[in-house]
Amino acid sequence: MTTGAPPAVGGAADIDAPDLNAPDIAAVEETPQVRRRRRLSPGKRLPASRLVGPVLVLALWAVASAAGRLDPAAVPAPWTVLETGVRLWTDGTLTTDILTSLRRAGSGFAIGLTAGVALALAAGLSRAGEALIDGTVQLNRAIPTLGLIPLFILWLGIGETFKIAIIAIVVYIPVYLNTHAALAGIDSRFVELAEVQGLSGFQFVRQIVVPGALPGFFVGLRLGVTGSWLGLVVLEQINATNGLGYLMFQAQNYGQSDVILVGLVVYGVFGLVSDSAVRLVERRVLSWRRTLSS
């Protein structure tokens, strides 16, 4: 700390001439030294600080396994999980299951995203659309989507269609809600500006409505991505004969905790990669906002 040391003048005057030189002391008292306030914010961020916690957990896990403090049947060692993962990958089981799962999540997500955006635009841009759509979606949202599984199995059978349909519903709700809220929240002053500048309806949507609603859309998109993985896990663990969740469900029956952990790691990678991808696109598309926050 550079502020810790008092200035030489103050110290010297106090010691050298305590009583003889009264005006000097007065001068010292008149100009008290500014003490820097105690900082209440946590200060500068450490480099790569977000990795510290996970790496520490991994290290603890490895040390405890090596020391034999963990039951290998309940929590296998990290290297066992890695070995199992490599084995499952090389014999092709894991790749097939991953591809099946990705196809389900991807199709459901794509349909849900399209439906969410289309409905939000229809409800946000016309009063008739709002009257028809908004209340219906709000009602749909009140029912937990996973509770629809029995009904959808009856309607669509237990095949791929019903799984994709459930994931699409899980995705479309947050996409719709956030995009619609963003559309409704577009500043009316910008609408007025568009009228003054003589924009056509199409130009208005493309140049003001869509860019104005994008921040909200991205919030919905990230929630939708998370929702699609959540729906996938539930569907595959209770109603599937293939896919990643089925692999884990089988492993539970045979007591293979290492296989379950491999499945969890893959799910984690899915979630992390998709969220990072959305964030990357968001940063690109909303680059105008960066200047605001920085």
């Binding site: 002053r189 910008f190 007025e192 500006l193 568009a194 009228e195 003054v196 500048q197 003589g198 924009l199 130009q203 140049q207 003001i208 860019p211 104005g212 994008l214 909303l286 105008w288 906002r289 200047t291 605001l292």
Partner: protein
């Protein structure tokens, strides 16, 4: 010069019995008004006197306001608002280009930005501009459309005093060069006197005073002859000697 005088005889804006009311409260009460083409007019009034309502009526922006009367205005009208109203997701040049298309549009937009002193800031984001710069960009956006009528709704109200004086000079220069009809709504008496050739005072929904200010430009705030106009305007606004 001859064509200019001739222009002045043809009204750009014509109001006949213009009435506007909100919830049975009459804000504009049967106003008759002609604004000659190319004239710089200021409209003064208290807050709530209806001056913005009048401007919005001329701009065609009063969608859900009850009213009657006849109103004619030119085809190309530009509006400058109190806030710059730049779209935060478009760079400055793209903001100026809002609503105009064509091959030479970008060229014209660059020229307009240069004219308001923003050359070199074309690729900046609106959030990177100061208040004065943002309002200059808004002026460029309204000029690039080459309007016959420029409506300005307290365009300098949110700026600091020094920036405001600079913007006054700029607006007057731009008017000299492009000669649109200008209707400047303001509550600042000095702003109206320094800029406009005709000052209207809106009071209780009617034009209370119609004053032609016959002084050469550029005008100084310290010009003693303008003091007389200031007195008359302040009296029309109901500010008497004891209030000052």
């Amino acid at each position: 010069m001859a064509t200019h005088t001739e222009q002045l005889t043809r009204p750009a804006v014509r109001l006949r019995g213009l009435t506007r009311s909100f919830d049975d409260r009459t804000v504009l009460d049967a106003i008759d008004l002609d604004l000659p083409a190319g004239q710089f007019t200021a409209l003064l009034g208290h807050s709530g006197s209806g001056k913005s309502t009048l401007l919005r009526a001329v701009a065609g922006l009063d969608h859900e306001v009850a009213g009657s009367g006849r109103l004619t205005a030119p085809e190309t009208v530009s509006v400058v608002f109190q806030d710059s109203r730049l779209l935060p997701w478009r760079r400055v040049l793209a903001n100026v280009l809002l609503g105009i298309e064509g091959n030479e549009a970008a060229h014209r937009a660059r020229a307009a930005l240069a004219e308001v002193g923003l050359a070199g800031r074309e690729e900046a984001w609106p959030s990177e501009l100061s208040g004065g710069e943002a309002q200059r960009a808004a002026l460029a956006r309204s000029l690039v459309r080459e309007p016959e009528l420029l409506l300005a709704d307290e365009p300098f109200g949110a700026l600091d005093a020094l920036t405001r004086i600079r913007m006054h000079v700029l607006l007057r220069e731009l008017w000299e060069r492009h000669r649109p009809s200008v209707l400047l709504v303001t509550h600042d008496v000095d702003e109206a006197i320094v800029l406009a050739d005709r000052v209207l005072v809106l009071d209780q929904g009617r034009i209370g005073l119609d004053l032609t200010i016959d002084r050469p430009h550029p005008r100084s705030y310290r010009d003693p002859l303008l003091g007389e106009y200031r007195e008359r305007l302040l009296t029309a606004l109901g500010v008497t000697e004891d209030h000052k």
